[in-house]
Amino acid sequence: MPPRLARLLASVVALALVGGALYLRSRGDDDGAGGPASGDRRYRVVCVEELQPVCDALAGAGLEVTVERAGETAGRLADGTADFDAWITIDPWPEMVQVVRDQGQRPAVFDPSVELASSDLVLLLADDQLAVDCGWDCAVDASGQQRRIATPSMADGFGPQVVAWAFASHIGRADYSRADIEAPEGARWLDRLASFPPNAAAEDQMATQGAAAYIAAGTTEQRATPALTSVRGKANGLHFGTPEVPARVDAVVAPVRGRNDTRSLVQRLTDQNATKAFVDEGWTAPAVEGATGLPAADLLVALREEIDR
């Protein structure tokens, strides 16, 4: 081969290689073949308020974060479309959205969620009259006008989960049904629990103001521990109760169905940096495997309806 032709062919091959690389890069890993990390891809994610510190730590190059209350995102998606790539939230909010969409015969908006981190649900007690073996029934029995219990709002990231867990503790099992919620005794118990104004940030108040703020709060271990171990939390005698049924919540990422290239986003949210961001905020990461101890998503939707009613 003449040298000039060889150089020409070499140039053509080189150009083809560069063009091919650029093409693959533009396609990302859409082919499912685990292609190159798409460093230039910008993801728009909605992050639930409860995970804001983690999302803030992960935000930056390639990740555009909008923080929003879980109930607001869910409300928008009940009959709308997602204008973002993924939802970083608390399980089972994505499934709860789908339960509502199914009622309107709307197509799925999310691909299956991927668990990122876990935290146990805990009953934080501030009243020294409530012993460590006090569970949800004990706390609700002890509650009253000036002895309040804090649970998050049903629109908060942890709200439906905490109430569902409390009710599971009350009836002694997680596999309850809507009939249990609507039964007179169950409804009465829920009414009493829901009679206290919701507060998703009761932990610090209990640490600084003691039982005057709340005698008990349903929350997560990662939120309760800093308050429990703080100087004033100790002075005010904060301690954990012993709920009748153990349960936990998982932080998850729910990719929006049909979006390109979300696999690399999931990889990014499960890499070492992301794991550290979760651990720094008191989460167990990677997530714990196995059942969470919470009822199914449709029951949480039913509880939202019951409490809102």
Binding site: Q145, A212, R232
Partner: protein, 603 residues
């Protein structure tokens, strides 16, 4: 949402627009904060009680490595802004030329103001601006009482609350029922809830006390006749209202030195930190240059109401506002983390607050020897929903103690001087328009009259003209507006004589069911054409003013407003102190309307 509710919110916000006492609460950017260089600026609007602390923290932060970032630096720049005023400005149009820079961080005294702002924005279809805020520092609302009075009630062994306040307010025997007839009737001090966080918290607390609830206060609760009677009963004991608790505390402190504090007020609803300030000899919480704290003879005791109370939680809201950039938001988070550090949180103790960070123990000066109990309060109350809060304020406007007020307007020649060169308006022009605007704050049942004063042209005679007699303002408001508008500048300023005679007239018609007061608007000094007897006139005037205060007296308050730099503010202050009220400074044309609003907030 009902139209009434929207109107209520608008009314609240409009009223709150005057949430400063003659501009005293609005502190502009402090010296040394005017040149941030190329740093990312985090502007803060903070309520007055934490301006000094936040300024100190900002100085330390700006000079620290904490303010250095990979891309440059952060510059925190606090300015004082009364909570209610900031609520209005954020909900409407924050004019940076007049009000200073728009804030990245807003820290009102209580989260309740954030709820009001968000509700107002929601009413206009706008997104919320105040997110969840972490408390920077906390202080509970208490009922401050002189120690002998708290002792007489058996506190703290016997719990005391709003129910006891009501019982004392209704008692014809007053303190005689407790073996102290010399203390006279029970007298309560409460600030105006449209202006003051303490006043708003006290109003919420007394409503809860009337219902026996600690949460879920409802409109129906407020409309219950029992609740209404409770509220009216408590209000009946009020000496006067006002925009800041400092008026009560300063008067208490001054009368303490005179030995008459027990007959000025029996109880005042204030924040716990004010009790600490008072008992450590700094009643208004601000040590002016050269001022040395001196403990009062009779200390106050913080009574934590048995029915429960509320915390002023001083949240730091990083605003979800269109003018806040991502870089500013990150910088704000850094500053917020800085002020939450234990070392910095311990500084809030120096100002009498409890730290917001649970990792910092409550310590001195929040100790028993300062009249407070760090283990209290044992019962807390929930902030009502914004619609209930608005209804509460509407009810208060009906239930508050009625007023009987004589407005005395200086129409001397010097009132013709131009006060605002930018508009050419004279002192009298500004006084008239501010007075006319303030008339809307009176309720229809209030009785208001108008008197003008000057001298004859040759200065030999005092000319006092009763333009309108004291009468219910409801049907006469337009006439009053018209008459104020008609006034023109004339001749001399017979200040002492008109003060004395006006006071005497209100005293002669004294109505024990009302706040009896004179609002004295003047730009000058005593000038009746004969200086030889001025000292004698002043002594005679003060003797008359002081004669009616005390346990058996008929307290008539004079609230003087100074309109010019050359006004004799010393004399006006003495007049105010002689009647246990407050004097106001309206020498800045830009703040005249605010000052008038503050004055009328006393009624």
């Amino acid at each position: 949402m009902s139209r009434r509710w929207v109107a209520g919110v608008v009314a609240l916000v409009l009223i709150a627009a005057g949430c400063s006492s003659g501009g005293n609460d609005d502190v502009r950017v402090a010296p040394g904060f005017d040149d941030p260089g190329d740093c990312t600026v985090v502007d803060l609007a903070v309520s007055s009680e934490k301006v000094a602390l936040m300024t100190e923290l900002a100085r330390v932060f700006n000079a620290s490595s904490e303010a250095q970032t990979d891309n440059g630096c952060i510059f925190a720049r606090p300015q004082g802004k009364a909570s209610g005023a900031a609520t209005t400005l954020l909900g409407t149009d924050w004019d940076e030329a007049a009000e200073g820079p728009r804030p990245v961080i807003w820290s009102p005294a209580s989260s309740a103001w954030g709820a009001v702002l968000n509700q107002r924005l929601a009413d206009e279809g706008k997104p919320a601006m105040a997110p969840e805020g972490r408390p920077f520092m906390q202080t509970p609302l208490v009922i401050a009482m002189p120690k002998p009075m708290a002792d007489a009630l058996g506190y703290p062994e016997t719990p005391v609350g709003w129910e006891d306040v009501l019982r004392l307010a209704r008692s014809e025997d007053g303190w005689a029922a407790y073996g102290h007839p010399e203390w006279g009737p029970f007298r309560l001090g409460k600030t105006n809830p449209n202006f003051s966080t303490s006043g708003l918290s006290a109003l919420i607390a007394q409503a809860y006390a009337a219902t026996g609830k600690t949460s879920n206060l409802s409109r129906e609760d407020l409309d219950n006749p029992t609740t209404e009677a409770f509220a009216t009963g408590v209000e009946s004991a009020v000496v006067h209202y006002g925009d800041i608790t400092g008026t009560f505390l300063n008067n208490w402190y001054r009368t303490d030195r005179e030995g008459t504090s027990l007959t000025y007020a029996s109880a005042v609803a204030v924040e716990e930190k004010s009790v600490i300030d008072y008992n450590t000899g700094n009643p208004d919480g601000v040590l002016d240059a050269g001022e040395r704290p001196r403990k009062p003879r009779i200390p106050l005791v913080a009574v934590y109401p048995k029915e429960g109370t509320l915390y002023s939680d001083n949240p730091l809201f990083v605003l979800d506002a269109p003018w806040v950039s991502g870089a500013e938001r990150k910088a704000a988070a850094r500053f917020e983390a800085f002020v939450q550090r234990p070392a910095n949180q311990r500084k809030v103790l120096e100002f009498g607050f409890r730290p917001g960070n649970p990792d910092v123990a409550v310590a001195s000066p929040v100790v028993a020897s300062n009249g407070v109990d760090p283990n209290q309060p044992k019962t807390l109350l929930d902030i009502p929903t914004p619609p209930v809060m608005i209804h509460l304020l509407e009810k208060w406007a009906e239930q508050r103690k009625s007023a009987r007020v004589l407005i005395v307007l200086d129409v001397s020649g010097s009132m013709s001087e131009v006060a605002d060169p930018s508009t050419g308006e004279t002192r009298l022009d500004l006084a008239k328009s501010a007075a006319i605007e303030a008339l809307d704050q009176f309720k229809d049942e209030d009785e208001v009259g108008l008197r003008t004063f000057t001298t004859s042209e040759d200065g030999t005679k005092v000319v006092i003209r009763d333009v309108l007699p004291i009468q219910p303002i409801g049907p006469n408001k337009e006439g009053l507006r018209r008459e104020i508008g008609n006034q023109i500048p004339l001749f001399g300023t017979p200040l002492y004589q008109v003060t004395r005679t006006s006071f005497q007239e209100v005293l002669d018609g004294y109505d024990p069911t009302r706040i009896n007061a004179v609002v004295l608007l003047t730009d000058g000094q005593q000038d009746d054409g004969d200086q030889s007897d001025d000292d004698a006139q002043e002594r005679a005037m003060l003797e008359v003013l002081r004669s009616t205060q005390g346990e058996t007296g008929k307290p008539v308050r004079i609230f003087p407003i100074a309109f010019a730099q050359d006004a004799d503010k010393g004399v006006l202050k003495t007049i105010a102190e002689a009647t246990n009220s407050a004097s106001y400074n309206a020498t800045d044309p830009k703040t005249i309307t605010k000052v008038f609003t503050a004055v009328v907030s006393n009624f």
